[in-house]
């Protein structure tokens, strides 16, 4: 039993490591006018993602990203609070996604 346990745990960890290595990239994200925020010194800056980008990345982790047109602003506020907790999202993620959904519906 323990051999099997260790084997399967090793499989998951190996897949995790493989994907991390495969996805490692030296490319820096391309900043767009709407997705860039320069903060601090000339060399210290952070790439801010847009709500649309986060909507595509975050929602698809579990289900197909919802159509913004399917709900009104009030509904999106309720759904966003629900999903923030259910999917354990950061405040920044859900705030931006909610803003995008409300702007695009």
């Amino acid at each position: 039993m323990k051999t099997t346990t260790n084997f399967k745990a090793a499989i998951i960890l190996s897949v995790m490591a493989s994907i991390m290595v495969a996805c490692s990239s030296n490319k820096k994200p391309i900043a767009t006018d709407t997705a860039t925020e320069v903060a601090g010194s000339e060399v210290d800056f952070k790439i801010e993602k847009s709500g649309a980008q986060l909507w595509g990345e975050v929602c698809n982790r579990c289900h197909i990203a919802p159509s913004p047109a399917d709900y009104n602003d009030t509904d999106w506020e309720t759904i966003s609070l629900h999903m923030r907790v259910r999917a354990n999202l950061t405040e920044e993620e859900i705030t931006k996604i909610e803003s995008f959904l409300k702007s695009a519906n």
Binding site: I11, I12, M16, C62, T78, H82, R86, N88, T90
Partner: protein, 380 residues
């Protein structure tokens, strides 16, 4: 006179308009449902049936930007009986940007399948992997209190959840001798003073959040009633989970990988079986495990509108119940599916599934079950 009429008219219009302003509190009904057809061949015995529709309404009450109540009911036809259930019912409050407290009956973050992926319109196959659901080893929900939250680590993200709940009850065999030693996670009444402690840590190491891996643990010092021989029988469970969802241009589509390994270790105890009217004691090393991995692919960048709606799915799962238990079992299952997405929340699933089971509830030998499924699920 005209001015008076115009004045009254504009006032009435303003009042009408005000009735359409959103209220401070919001109530919303969401949920999902599914139905379908199944054909099963178990060792040469065939059966086929249309499935009664399952209806799972979700009630969301947003009291403020920080306070919410959520509940999900389940209605399902099993044969001629209407089976009802309360999937979860909890109140939650956002304490700060990194911490939310929940109390009530909630889905347990033991891995990700039961908490995030099991609803029919999200699950890519009509069935659950082995080890989940009835007689499964992964806890799905319980009553208690939980803290959870997430941090942005400047690209990577970390999320956490810790909880205290009533915990499971061990089946001592008095009611169902063939299930002696099995943990009953569906028994929500607290049978002792001990509580179950659990939690999960999830890490999303990549800046595009395409990958998440998590580790979960769940433990209790007692699973038996206070005045029973099983009071000191504790349990420790842990799980590893992985999710990877990425749009890959050379493949012209989205690749979705999910995996979860569950391990259950229950303290050894003595149970009794009745043979020829005589009660015989026996015990066994009460360790169980289950594993599943699933790969799906949606060609969303295809030039064909029809192909864009398709999804190809494959899943392997297995389940190992303790050797020496009446419910000793070793099962493996392969499932293959073709889905057609009518919208982002409505899918028709066609799948073939083959399961090989050795043992299981005091049965001997090997049983193979092959099944064809057509399910239609919709979220709302």
């Amino acid at each position: 006179m005209t001015l008076i009429i115009l004045g009254l008219g504009s006032s009435a219009l303003a009042q009408t308009y005000n009735t359409f302003e959103p209220s401070k509190t919001q109530f919303m009904l969401r949920g999902y449902g599914h139905t379908g057809f199944e054909y099963l061949d178990t060792g040469g015995e065939q059966e086929s049936t249309f499935l009664g529709a399952t209806f799972a309404p979700i009630f969301l009450y947003k009291h403020s930007d920080k306070l919410m109540f959520e509940a999900e009911l389940e209605f399902e036809l099993e044969g001629n009986e209407l089976k009802t259930g309360l999937e979860y019912a909890d109140v939650m409050y956002v304490l700060n940007k990194h911490m939310t407290v929940r109390a009530g009956k909630f889905l347990l973050p033991f891995g990700t399948f039961m908490e995030r992926l099991h609803p029919a319109w999200i699950n890519r196959l009509p069935s659950r992997p082995l080890g989940f659901g009835h007689d499964g080893i992964a806890p799905a929900s319980d009553i208690g209190v939980e803290l959870r939250g997430a941090f942005d680590l400047g690209g990577p993200k970390l999320n956490y959840a810790v909880y205290v709940t009533n915990g499971p009850r061990i089946k001592d065999g008095s009611e169902e001798p063939e299930e002696a030693g099995m943990l009953d996670f569906g028994y929500y009444e607290d049978v002792n003073l001990a509580k179950a402690l659990g939690g999960r840590i999830g890490l999303l190491p990549l800046s595009d959040s395409s990958m998440e891996w998590g580790i979960s643990a769940y433990t209790t010092n007692s699973t038996g009633a206070e005045d029973s021989d099983y009071k000191d029988v504790g349990a420790f469970l842990w799980a590893l989970d992985l999710s990877y969802v990425k749009s890959i241009t050379p493949l012209q589509g989205v690749v979705d990988i999910k995996a979860q390994y569950n391990s259950s270790n229950v303290d050894t105890a003595t149970y009794y079986e009745i043979e020829d009217g005589i009660s015989e004691p026996y015990s066994f090393d009460n360790q169980s495990s289950s594993f599943y991995t699933q790969l799906s692919y949606r060609p969303i960048m295809s030039g064909s509108d029809f192909m864009k709606q398709l999804e190809f799915v494959g899943r392997y799962s297995d389940f190992n119940a303790p050797e020496g238990a009446e419910w000793e079992e070793k099962s493996t299952q392969y499932a293959f599916g073709l889905n057609y997405w009518l919208s982002w929340r409505s899918v028709v699933k066609f799948s073939y599934q083959t399961t090989k089971m050795e043992g299981g509830h005091d049965s001997d030998g090997t049983t193979r079950t092959n099944g064809l499924f057509v399910h239609w699920a919709i979220g709302f």
